[in-house]
Symmetry: C2
Subunit: 187 residues, 2 copies
DNA sequence: ACCTGAACACCGTTCAAGT
DNA sequence: ACCTGAACACCGTTCAAGT
């Protein structure tokens, strides 16, 4: 609710998408928000608290975005076709990446509360993909859809990671096209 | 050549596979090697020098490993079938990941010299995959093989990242199986 | 309720000094 | 040739103090 708290979360999000959890630092963050480093601790007692709130907000927003996508494209095949766009946006925004993808790499150094939210992000995406896949193919059972959903989620995340490492969004597009050609994603 | 230098590189490798480039710190590294933090600078003037040497050694070793795999499995389909094992090993080693995959996420904070070596790592893998894919399928032209190679590299990297975020090597195996089922990887 | 300055132990880095 | 202690500006964190 607090405006400052929201400003901190917003600034931290773009920073974490570029520098990860370990790359977040209170002094730069505070400077961007217009307060002092020590003041952040009033809103988030520790960096772990900030990280957990940040990751939770991230998957909540992502869940809402996916639901909106589903609403905009009721046809399952169309929704699936648009799915990679969600990851593409981060790259288009100054070669940023999915915050939770970054945090997946940082797993060893993540506080337990942050780990849990990162897991929730993946769960949200896999659940959404599985649901859409199921409605696209009535024959597929739930386990098959979930397995396929995890493969898609992992593959798109990998494409984003590779494209980021070359700051080449066209590479992301090319890899997604390859996924479509091979049948991992609907054409 | 220097024994200390080699010990630094070896210790830095396992650390970077778990904590990334930003997670490397001279004091812990020095303690593991048995010298003082300041002494590392004799062998690597800056952290950027260490990072570049580390990433270069990493792709050189990886290239040798892939060539050995090719030698052990002259049949292209068998070599491709064994490829995911290279990434699986890192997860089996205390849930570590590909150092260059981690560094791909850290792209924004990487010195230019390190970025170049991370790119070289991807190039080595894509070139190897493209070569093996071409010999597996004589009809495929070079561009098609390279495109497919990039898709495989990205997808396997993504599977590793997702499995790491849950410390679940069985998830990696399951995703790889999905890739096989869909035809991204040979069965 | 919200913010701050000052202090703490930690980082990479430098450098003069050791052997 | 190789290593070290001490110092520097930087981190997250704490806390007493402000409004």
């Amino acid at each position: 609710m607090s405006e400052t708290r929201e400003a901190i979360l917003a600034a931290a999000r773009t920073r974490a998408q570029a520098h990860g959890y370990s790359g977040l630092n209170f002094r730069d963050l505070a400077a961007e928000v217009g307060i002092k480093s020590a003041s952040i601790h009033y809103h988030f007692p520790t960096k772990a608290d900030l990280g957990a709130a940040l990751a939770r907000r991230y998957w909540e927003d992502s869940a809402a975005e996916l639901e909106a996508l589903r609403g905009e494209f009721p046809d399952p095949a169309s929704a699936l076709r648009k799915y990679p766009e969600v990851f593409r946006k981060a790259l288009a925004n100054d070669n940023r990446m999915c915050m939770c993808g970054f945090m997946a790499a940082e797993y060893d150094d993540l506080p337990a509360a942050v780990k849990a939210e990162v897991k929730a992000f993946a769960d949200v995406h896999v659940a959404w993909l599985a649901k859409v896949l199921s409605s696209a193919d009535g024959r597929a059972d739930a386990d098959t859809a979930k397995e396929r959903a995890r493969a898609i989620f992992a593959a798109i995340g990998g494409a984003q990671l590779m494209a980021r490492s070359r700051a080449d969004i066209a590479l992301f597009d090319a890899i997604v096209e390859s996924y479509r050609r091979v049948g991992l994603l609907p054409g």
